[in-house]
């Protein structure tokens, strides 16, 4: 008897895949309505005293910039003089920061754009673990800085 290809997963497999897709789509619909209720992006702005915008930067003379994006992105381009530090390179980045840090120079952390939260997390961790009072995060991220700040 010649071999006959039955095609794909068969009716049983297709039934499971189909029902799996229904579960995923139902979850997607619920997630959509949930995001409409609470907002897709986390609330930020005036209520966070450590959030800075491009307008705030002009009043700060000597900033220690920390780039919290992945290492590849940092190497491809960053703010002039920025240090690299995120949770992946914490130990190494921290020792570089401590060598550079001076009490009267505020530290500002940035990540990719306004939607990323890494900058806020890194700034918070630096304040908590090192007890540094002036560690801020830049709301607009690299996307805003590359247009309005000296970069390399």
């Amino acid at each position: 008897m010649p071999f006959k290809y039955s095609g794909g997963y068969g009716p049983r497999g297709r039934g499971i895949v189909g029902r799996g897709l229904v579960i995923c789509l139902l979850a997607l619909v619920l997630a959509f309505f949930h995001s409409l209720l609470v907002g897709l992006e986390p609330p930020s702005g005036p209520e966070d005293p450590y959030a800075l915008s491009l307008g705030d930067l002009a009043a700060i003379p000597e900033i220690i910039w920390i780039d919290a994006r992945p290492e590849g992105a940092f190497e491809a381009g960053s703010v002039s003089g920025a240090l690299h530090l995120n949770e992946e390179t914490w130990e190494r980045g921290l020792s570089t920061l401590l060598e550079t840090w001076e009490p009267d120079r505020p530290v500002i952390v940035f990540c990719d754009d306004s939607g990323c939260g890494t900058s806020r997390v890194v700034a918070e961790r630096l304040r908590e673990e090192l007890g540094l009072p002036e560690v801020y995060w830049f709301e607009g991220g690299w996307k805003e800085l590359e247009k309005g700040w000296p970069v390399r």
């Binding site: 499971i16 579960i23 997607l28 949930h34 995001s35 609470v38 992946e88 914490w90 939260g117």
Partner: protein, 136 residues
């Protein structure tokens, strides 16, 4: 005996996934930050996943109970656990010093602990699939 064992497995799994999903749904923005800590996705992608994945966990946990949907729900949850295992393994290999974020902010666990726990959950899902292997 077999039915009792299966109900016990389903109860453990559905409670686990309802808790895991529910604890993230309480604060999806915190879960979005937890996703970003893995440095695999960030920004919009992390926000979208932070809303979608917990709902997948909750919906699939409920669909474990109707017999006709059981295998599909177990497959979805198994796939989800595999994705989590890959992310956790990458975090482990890269030496990321982070909380796994698997059960919201309430019950944090190290990456290694989460890997072991997820492996155990995957085994339970496989067991459920095996008990229902003749279902259509």
């Amino acid at each position: 005996m077999k039915i009792g064992l299966e109900r016990l497995l389903l109860a453990i799994l559905s409670l686990f996934f309802l808790y895991a999903g529910g604890s993230k749904l309480v604060d999806p923005h915190a879960f979005s930050l937890a996703i970003e800590r893995y440095h695999l996705v960030d920004g919009l992608a992390a926000h979208l996943l932070a809303f979608w994945l917990p709902w997948v966990e909750c919906v699939a946990a409920l669909f474990l109970w109707p017999r006709r949907w059981r295998l599909a729900a177990a497959a979805v949850l198994g796939g989800l656990m595999l994705v989590f295992q890959v992310a956790l393994t990458m975090a482990f290999v890269r030496g990321l010093d982070i909380d796994c974020g698997c059960l919201g902010e309430g019950l944090e666990m190290s990456v290694t602990g989460a890997l072991l726990r997820n492996f155990f959950i995957l085994l339970l899902l496989l067991w459920v699939a095996r008990l229902n292997r003749h279902e259509r």
